[in-house]
Symmetry: C2
Subunit: 276 residues, 2 copies
């Protein structure tokens, strides 16, 4: 974004049509567009332009009293991306609710990588997270956040997972959906088959897993597989690969899937000497 | 709940006034009343009657097609607690939204324990979680869930934390707010002073903590202290106690507070030999 922001004085101005009622509408699936809200996520989106994941900002809407504070971030966004500014009444009138975050961008992902392409790009020493059937946007966002925290190289999602570009998933991920390399597609079996063929030791996470996550054997290429909270991973997957569990107090409801994966990834990153 | 459920055919029936518009209203603070939604939380509430935490069900509202499936849980609820049943239209009309969970109870906590009383009741070998200034209900619920998963003996909340009996906190905790012993009150310093005086080794969790959570020295009485996500724990606390960190990939936004505590408690439970 270069030069002065364009002032918007009517909430039905056609130039900001893409921002209208963003809570109710869903941009996902419309040519890869998504909504990035708030300062932290906007910073990730700005940085994504030079990162190669295919993410681009298309337009930014800014609450007028936030403009000065966002200057450094906005300077990292390409000059041809329009920035619109509005006062609080118009801003909330456009969004359709009290958007206290004060900044929202419409982004687009161009040419997302394929699962095969992303696997092919991985280094010899890799830590991968794979997810099957994660349909809850909070869990999806939290999985991204935890994967980023422990330096996961790639996050692979089977075709039954929800789209991580949903507004809430991006927000819960604290923007890491825009920074952590990920690809979605294929069935779970094909995806895990591809990982096996490229030398990954695959560990399926389950409350009934055989090996405690702290005892997972070291390997240059490690992949953790997570399933849905309710059903867990299908037996066909659990029977085909190593299984791991997060040890817990007896008789209690299991951990949230993102928390369990966080603990498993923490142990895997420790065993690889990546953190300590 | 004994005998037949009472059928409700009008959403403004005064007998179910306590259930009306439960999403908008907030029962917390009204004589310790709270809302327990869904099968899993209802089971926890039923079991709480014999557990001694002071939790009681006052009334239960059930979607008619869930009545048979809930029979085993309802049988564990005292006979004098009324159970109301309604069809989907009336049920949603009472709740004020599409309550797909199909069962909701109004509960009450009588005579909650004091912080001092709960500390005095702890065994010689104890694992305690203490929280200062946690104001987000999702984080509060997730902290309870993780504390329960790793067998925490007591959860102590300073006076600036939000009330865990908020509807959403109970739901996110998967009902463990009703099973894990907890007490709220006092300032953070007084609370930690009480723990020190009763022989607890206190570890304050911070992204800049000195000791990796995996290196925390074993102790019969261990306490983990967590602060808010944004500000973290105040310097006055960090400078007075041991500090611990969850090792993470460099340069990244820190973990969610509940996830970080989950990993720290996992390590503490391992070091105490409670899980493995």
């Amino acid at each position: 974004m270069a030069g002065a922001a364009i002032r918007i004085t009517e909430s039905d101005d056609p130039r900001i049509a893409a921002f209208r009622s963003i809570r109710e509408r869903d941009l996902v699936g419309r040519e890869g567009r998504f909504v990035a809200e708030g300062t932290v996520v906007l910073r990730m989106l700005a940085q994504a332009h030079t990162r190669g994941g295919g993410f681009r900002a298309e337009a930014i809407l800014i609450l007028e009293n936030r403009l000065a504070g966002l200057a450094a971030i906005l300077a990292d966004i390409p000059a041809d991306v329009p920035g619109y500014v509005a006062d609080k009444t118009i801003f909330n009138g456009i969004a359709g609710f009290d958007m206290h975050r004060g900044v929202v961008a419409i982004g687009r992902r161009e040419e997302p990588p394929s699962v095969a392409g992303l696997i092919a790009s991985l280094p010899a020493d890799s830590l991968v997270l794979a997810a099957c059937g994660i349909s809850n946007h909070d869990n999806m966002g939290a999985l991204f956040r935890n994967a980023a925290a422990f330096g996961v190289d790639a996050f692979l999602l089977d075709e039954t997972c929800c789209d991580p570009l949903y507004r809430k998933a991006i927000r819960v991920s604290v923007g890491s959906v825009l920074s952590l390399p990920y690809a979605q597609g294929e069935g779970a079996r094909e995806l895990l088959q591809s990982l096996t063929e490229t030398g990954f030791a695959i560990w399926a996470l389950s409350p009934r897993g055989e090996t405690a996550v702290g005892q997972i054997a070291p390997s240059a290429r490690l992949a953790l597989v997570a399933g849905t909270e309710g059903e867990g991973l299908p037996d066909a997957i659990l029977s085909q690969f190593h299984t791991a569990r997060v040890p817990q107090a007896p008789g209690l409801d299991s951990l949230n899937v993102a928390t369990a994966c966080g603990i498993a990834l923490y142990q895997m990153a420790l065993s690889k000497g990546r953190i300590g």
